[in-house]
């Protein structure tokens, strides 16, 4: 038996991905204690899951964010939340997660342990076990510390039919909270914007909120989490899928003052900025009042608001009534203004 891993001074070495004793030790001493689950502990090539009732949803997401640690979270918690949210946006109850790690030689084991712990805590808080995993190591200089891929499986109850193609003219658009917190928190940290140091990422798992919403509004048409590309991309995607237009009101969209200040200063449009703990819901008009009340009663939706409607438009444009009273197109982002935010 070798010495235990040095979680204070040690670093990731090529052998940690080599399939030998060093890799087994890394998994046993670093990952397992934080990500305890019976399937993971069994140590097989895959996880055996009982067959659930209902239809299955699978979603996957790779995380390459720099910096690895940021106000409001880290790459580990983000990797859990991001995939759980993709599963939840299908109306599903997530039941299992996988985690694949690509580590760069030289990454401090202390950082890796902190990230593994944060991942384990996020999964436990969400009530979803990490059931299988994988670890590879690449040479120094070939990665940014680490990348994490997570895949989630969820179950959709009978009668729940959500999809971006289901929006109809007249449907109401509801947003669960403030915009831009994640993208601006990352940018502020990367660019050392001292005045924006109190902006925290909104990274959070939304499946609890989604369950509440499905109870309140069984006729819900579509959910989407406005991550990369922001609300503008989410709305344009749905408009295209459903063949409708959308009209939103700038005055109904909430921004935290420091987020707004950074957007003003750097000339960024908050509608293009990524979020990791918000959702856009499309509901038939008759159910939106009840839906909004249910969202506001949930801690992750207390700033929820009705922000606009779907409209008939053969060109599928998304438009916004500005605070000023005029209208403008809300377009996709033309190029990537913020590299590596998720």
């Amino acid at each position: 038996m070798s010495h235990p891993l040095d979680l204070k001074q040690g670093r990731v070495e090529m052998a940690h991905g080599g399939g030998g004793r060093a890799m087994a030790q890394l998994i046993r001493e670093l990952f397992l204690p934080f990500m305890e689950s019976p399937a993971l502990r069994a140590g097989n090539d895959g996880a055996l899951l009982a067959r659930p009732e209902g239809r299955l949803v699978v979603a996957t997401d790779s995380h390459v964010i720099t910096p690895l640690f940021f106000p409001g979270g880290d790459i580990g918690s983000l990797a859990v939340h991001g995939t759980l949210n993709d599963v939840a946006m299908m109306g599903a109850r997530p039941i299992a997660l996988s985690a694949g790690f690509i580590l760069e030689e030289g990454l401090p084991l202390a950082d890796l342990a902190r990230i593994a712990q944060s991942m384990g805590e996020a999964a436990r808080a969400a009530g979803v076990p990490i059931v299988t995993g994988d670890t590879k190591v690449v040479e120094r200089g070939k990665g940014d510390g680490l990348y994490i891929n997570t895949t989630g499986i969820g179950v959709v109850a009978d009668g729940v039919e959500l999809g971006g193609e289901r929006a109809r003219p007249g449907d109401h658009l509801l947003l669960s909270g403030t915009l831009g917190d994640h993208g601006i928190a990352i940018l502020a940290q990367r660019e050392n914007l001292a005045f924006a140091s109190d902006i925290r990422s909104d990274s959070a798992a939304l499946h609890g909120l989604v369950a509440t919403m499905l109870d309140a509004a069984p006729g819900l048409r579509c959910l989407r989490d406005p991550t990369r590309g922001g609300l503008a991309a989410a709305l344009n995607e749905i408009a295209g899928q459903s063949g409708v237009g959308a009209l939103i009101r700038e005055a109904a969209i909430r921004l935290r003052p420091p987020v707004r200040a950074v957007c003003e200063l750097l000339g960024l449009d908050p509608l293009n900025i990524a979020n990791e703990g918000k959702l856009l819901a499309i509901s038939p008009p008759g159910e939106s009042a009840r839906l909004l009340a249910a969202m506001r009663a949930h801690p992750l939706g207390h700033d929820a608001a009705l922000i606009g409607e779907c409209i008939a438009d053969p060109h599928h444009f998304v438009q916004m009534e500005t605070r000023f009273g005029g209208r403008r197109t809300v377009d996709w982002l033309a190029s990537e203004p913020l590299p590596r935010i998720c």
Binding site: H316, Q319, F324, G325, G326, T329, A334
Partner: protein, 378 residues
């Protein structure tokens, strides 16, 4: 938010727009050119055309630094960037400007050229200090607003004796471009393009002051109102122009008194004069050769002049044939009148430079005003 909300007040905007509607003569059109891309951006982003009466028409002028940079200069920059010893630094939008042979700085970077996007001229200095064995070239572009920071970088480089830093200077001058537009045959003789007044530059005027416009207003009998970039600034400037036009006046008025004086920023002007001198002529995209419209480094700074160090030879390159950027930059055409607009030419794959920068008229209309021209495809 303090100091921002005051200039975005919807109720004030509706009040100003109602005054414009009450005072504008319904029997005539008011054709106003906003010179600056910043104004174009504000007009489209806040939907100002929805608030104003239909006979107030905006012509979007050439005040977008990325848009007026001719293809030949981008070709020069790409040639420089492809030299193995060179690190080429520039502001973000420049990287996407289409150059000859379907290339761009961004594409050159993907093919291995060392091209870096920077936020400030001082970032280029830092890169030069950090890479003493490489040649760091700052591709400097912009109007009078971005010229002083380039001058500061050059002074600092000289003070430090930074031998591996040079500037490829493409700084241009606003008054020369306005005069060129006013002297264009379409405007002066044919009268095919009506132009009743100018919304004058905002930040540029903070540097050069309002005095340089007095000559145009007098000589060409066109009113100029210098305006800030906030939407209320633009509305107030429109009202001031309508009043001048109704009264038959053609004065230079200053709406943007919180930043602009008649004399401008004398310290910045002195700084620029120490480092730069006038070029006899410079090519502008859309306007062609414009006399005394650009700056180059003074002989004192020859050691920091990329054009001298790398013997850059300029070759003018015509625009893509079906692209109407030239006509759009002179106000002869509206973006949606170009055949390529939103079809072959989009912000993702721009053909003309007006589609590249967010201050370009085509990009502003594509991103914020496309719902107004639904005949073009989504």
């Amino acid at each position: 938010m303090k100091f921002v909300d005051e200039f975005r007040d919807g109720a004030l905007a509706r009040g100003l727009a109602a005054t414009v509607a009450a005072e504008a003569d319904p029997a005539r059109d008011y054709t106003l050119m906003e010179f600056c891309g910043g104004h174009t951006h504000a007009i489209t982003r806040y939907g100002l055309e929805d608030l104003l009466p239909r006979n107030i028409r905006f012509i979007h002028g050439p005040g977008c630094p990325v848009c007026v940079l001719p293809v030949g200069r981008i070709d020069n920059a790409i040639e420089l960037a492809r030299r193995p010893e060179v690190i080429l630094c520039s502001y973000g939008d420049v990287l996407r400007v289409p150059a000859s042979h379907r290339t761009s700085l961004q594409r050159a970077r993907a093919e291995g050229a060392d091209v870096r996007m920077i936020w400030s001229s001082l970032d280029a200095l830092r890169i030069a200090r950090e890479n003493p064995s490489r040649e760091v070239v700052f591709l400097a572009i912009g109007f009078e607003t971005t010229t002083p920071p380039t001058a500061v970088a050059l002074q600092q480089a000289r003070a430090e004796g930074l031998a591996n830093f040079t500037v490829f200077c493409n700084h241009v001058l606003t008054p020369a471009a306005i005069q060129n537009i006013l002297e264009s045959p379409q405007l002066r003789e044919l009268g095919s393009v009506p132009l009743d007044g100018f919304i004058g530059p905002s930040h540029v005027s903070a540097i050069i002051g309002s005095r340089p416009y007095e000559y145009f207003a007098e000589e060409y009998q066109k009113p100029v109102v210098i305006a800030g970039f906030e939407p209320l600034d633009v509305l107030q400037a429109v009202l001031m122009l309508v009043r001048q036009i109704n009264a038959g006046r053609f004065a230079v008025e200053n709406q943007y008194t919180r930043a602009v004086t008649r004399e401008g920023n004398l310290k910045a002007q002195r700084l620029v004069a120490e480092v730069f001198e006038l070029r006899e002529s410079f090519e502008w995209r859309g306007l062609g050769e414009v006399p005394y419209s650009a700056l180059r480094l003074r002989p004192d700074y020859a050691a920091f002049d990329a054009e001298r160090r790398f013997n850059i030879a300029y070759h003018a390159v015509p625009d893509a044939r079906s692209c109407d950027c030239g006509a759009i930059l002179r106000g002869l055409k509206h973006p949606v009148e170009c055949k390529l607009f939103a079809t072959a030419c989009t912000p993702e794959s721009p053909i003309g430079s007006c589609m590249v920068s967010s201050e370009g008229a085509c990009s502003a209309y594509y991103s914020y005003g496309r719902h107004r021209a639904p005949e073009s495809p989504a």
